[in-house]
């Protein structure tokens, strides 16, 4: 194990990690927005749009991110849609994550007891008001475990971004192996880099999950605590 080599190349990994994190952050933000929009469209049963949303969810959940990226990066320029590497990565991640987030929020919404909705209507609230003030806050809380799992899943998925010529962690590791043949050191730093990014998120995630467990009033599974 060549520690001098590791020490010298830490900045390279830091740079790559920053890129991975920033793309992941934008992608996750986009996924949350798309996910909220989609789950709202499904909840409010807007005709036509909800069919489109359903189709999008099935399409995105049943195809790998790698293939989506290939299509975005190599396919679309042939019809004049030229996206930069970063734009491709963020679009791809949002396209993939949007459906996962939508499903997570959807499950959260479905978990809110029917009596909550009925009580809200009987208080004279409209569908939209009920959704925003009553359903959503509870749904977000019950959807939290799935949401955090999705965040970790999406960060892990960023590992394929080297195929759209982004200098992310995998790219740097492969590059170093190619240049120096120091396979062990490069791979060790790769593993450590992902651990440094993902472990805190995993720990914070389970802490948040425990914090929001109060939600789900009138919901048997949440009350019994499992």
């Amino acid at each position: 194990m060549d520690f001098e080599f590791i020490y010298e190349n830490i900045p390279l990994y830091m740079e790559a990690a920053k890129l991975t994190i920033s793309i992941a952050a934008w992608g996750i933000l986009g996924s949350i927005i798309i996910g909220l929009l989609c789950s709202m469209i499904k909840e409010l049963r807007i005709p036509v749009l909800r069919n489109i949303v359903q189709f999008y969810i099935e399409l995105s959940r049943n195809t790998p991110l790698l293939i989506q990226l290939f299509f975005l990066y190599f396919g679309l320029p042939k019809v004049g849609i030229l996206l930069s590497s970063e734009a491709c990565a963020i679009t791809g991640l949002t396209f993939l994550g949007g459906s996962y987030m939508a499903e997570a929020f959807r499950a959260g919404i479905d978990n809110v007891a029917q009596s909550q909705r009925e009580s809200s209507y009987s208080l004279g609230m409209t569908r939209q008001q009920t959704f925003i003030h009553i359903i959503l806050p509870q749904a977000v809380a019950t959807a939290m475990p799935a949401f955090i799992a999705n965040v970790i899943f999406l960060i892990k998925e960023t590992s394929v971004f080297s195929v759209v010529a982004l200098a992310d962690l995998m790219y740097v590791a492969k590059d170093l192996i190619g240049i120096s043949y120091k396979t062990d050191e490069a791979l060790l730093m790769l593993v450590v880099a992902y651990l440094v990014i993902l472990l805190p998120i995993s720990v914070i995630g389970s802490w948040i999950e425990r914090r929001v467990r109060y939600a789900g009033f009138g919901n048997r599974s949440a009350v019994s605590g499992d």
Binding site: E58, P64, I67, F70, P77, I152, K156, E157, T183
Partner: protein, 225 residues
């Protein structure tokens, strides 16, 4: 007249070659899945152990697999093993090793969840009837876990198929690689080939995974207690 370029999909045996490439991915997914189910059932039984050391090791294994991107694991095996064990592991074999390692952990966790959902009195009644531990497991417990096991396992299968698309990055010749070959071969006659080929691969994955995940959803509803 300007050609759209879609004819690249129908030229010669291109479509057939793409599907052949797809079968390479599917084969890897099928082998890994079969191994994962077998090892996962054993893993799940180990995971229900009361011993704290066994529990800790299982937990570490599961968390490691969950936190590391599959591509990193592929790199570790593909590049790392070749150096240390001095053997030349093919991309296919690395893929099967990594996906089985991953699938066993996921399947194990599914099996553990299913086993722990079986009420204690099922065991006690079975012992009360004079059945041995092994008999209890095979005849009483396992049939009851199948209900929740099958949809989850099928769900894992679609994830496995989607994840096998990564193997192109460690040099396995599968559908993406074949697609690239076709694109390169028709670069001058059909400049828009990339759009159609990658679009076709995209739809191929959908055509394969969609029915499987629908099946999983239907079974989950039908088998619900």
């Amino acid at each position: 007249m300007q050609d759209s370029g879609i004819e690249v999909l129908f030229q010669g045996i291109n479509a057939w070659r793409l599907w052949q490439g797809m079968f390479v991915s599917l084969k890897l997914a099928a082998i890994s899945m079969a191994l994962s189910i077998l090892l996962g059932i054993i893993m799940g039984m180990i995971m229900t152990s009361k011993n704290w050391l066994v529990k800790a090791i299982c937990r570490l294994y599961l968390e490691t697999v969950r936190i590391m991107p599959q591509l990193v694991l592929l790199f570790l095996v593909y590049f790392g093993a070749a150096k240390h064990l001095g053997i030349d592991i093919s991309g296919e074999l690395s893929a099967v090793i990594v996906f089985t390692f991953w699938g066993t952990a996921e399947m194990g966790d599914i099996v553990r969840g299913a086993l722990e959902s079986i009420p204690k009195h099922q065991y006690e009644s079975s012992y009360g009837l004079g059945m041995k531990r092994g008999q209890t497991f095979v005849y009483i417990i396992l049939p009851q876990t199948i209900r929740s096991l099958i949809p989850a396992a099928i769900n894992l299968l679609t994830r496995m198929i989607k994840t096998t698309s990564l193997v192109v990055l460690i040099g396995v010749v599968e559908v993406v690689k074949v697609g690239k070959q076709i694109i390169d071969a028709s670069r001058f006659e059909i400049p828009t080939a990339a759009l159609w080929i990658y679009g076709a691969i995209f739809m191929m994955y959908f055509v394969v995974c969609f029915p499987i995940s629908k099946l999983s959803a239907v079974l989950e509803k039908r088998l619900q207690v």
